[in-house]
Symmetry: C2
Subunit: 157 residues, 2 copies
């Protein structure tokens, strides 16, 4: 969840990036991105339809949502979490540095997701595993399941 001012700033940054890339962040794409940014947790495509209706009124067809999610992913503005079939806004839109391939930690209990930067040590070890198996790594993108700080406390308390 990002507060409204911050969302505006991120949207603006996203527009700039799209301009630079020669792609267009249309009105509808902006609204879906806004829906994503306002979530605390990953959300499904159909969840986005509901959220869109709540925030902005009107129905967005599923096909449009999927297309827009595709666009956002191509432009590194959103990611799909394959382990959950859900989507989140990229947490680095407003960062000016290039942040490489996304790596995610997923809480098995509350489903919270944390996008972490490229961890050099991890990437190195992933590379080794690939090489030992005669595979070649093409992206260090990875999703790892664990349990978050908050849920750990609740469980043990």
């Amino acid at each position: 969840m990002t507060n409204s001012d911050a969302v505006d700033r991120i949207i603006h940054s996203a527009e700039t990036q799209c301009l630079k890339r020669g792609s267009r962040l249309s009105k509808k794409r902006t609204l879906i991105l806004r829906c994503l940014l306002l979530q605390e947790k990953p959300i499904s495509a159909y969840g986005l339809i509901d959220t869109y209706r709540e925030y902005f009124g009107g129905d967005m067809p599923a096909t449009s949502v999927y297309r827009i999610l595709g666009f956002l992913q191509e432009n590194s503005l959103a990611h799909k979490l394959q382990l959950q079939n859900k989507y989140i806004a990229c947490s680095h839109i407003a960062c000016d540095h290039d942040h490489g391939s996304p790596q995610f930690l997923i809480c098995v209990q509350c489903k919270a997701v944390k996008e972490v930067g490229n961890n050099v040590g991890l990437v190195t070890e992933m590379n080794k595993v690939f090489e030992r198996s005669e595979f070649r790594m093409i992206t260090p993108q990875v999703e790892m399941v664990g349990i978050c700080d908050k849920c750990q406390r609740v469980d043990s308390g």
Copy 2:
């Protein structure tokens, strides 16, 4: 793909393991496991229905397939590849040693999958990533996308 004799041996080993665990590898469960073992690549649940019909004749309902897949996973005889919604037989059924959590390499092109053992260095680095983010690792199970040896050659040649 495993040849028929080897499959028989693996099935026997699976029966032994189930016995040890107090679970039952019923006839139908055996047949689905056999279908999995005869595949070269991961297969979808509905793909298994077709395969089952080809090999053994008769229709197995989807509900049964999913239930049996659940059983096989609980008993570490099969794994679900979350990135593809497909299933494979565990490649270590006939090994007597405990092989820990599965780690998979997936070829982005031909979709071949290699199950690799627990790589100590990788697990260590995963642990570090979790700790830095105040998550706790609960399983080093992970799926990593790359490109296999064969597809590399084809691409470059």
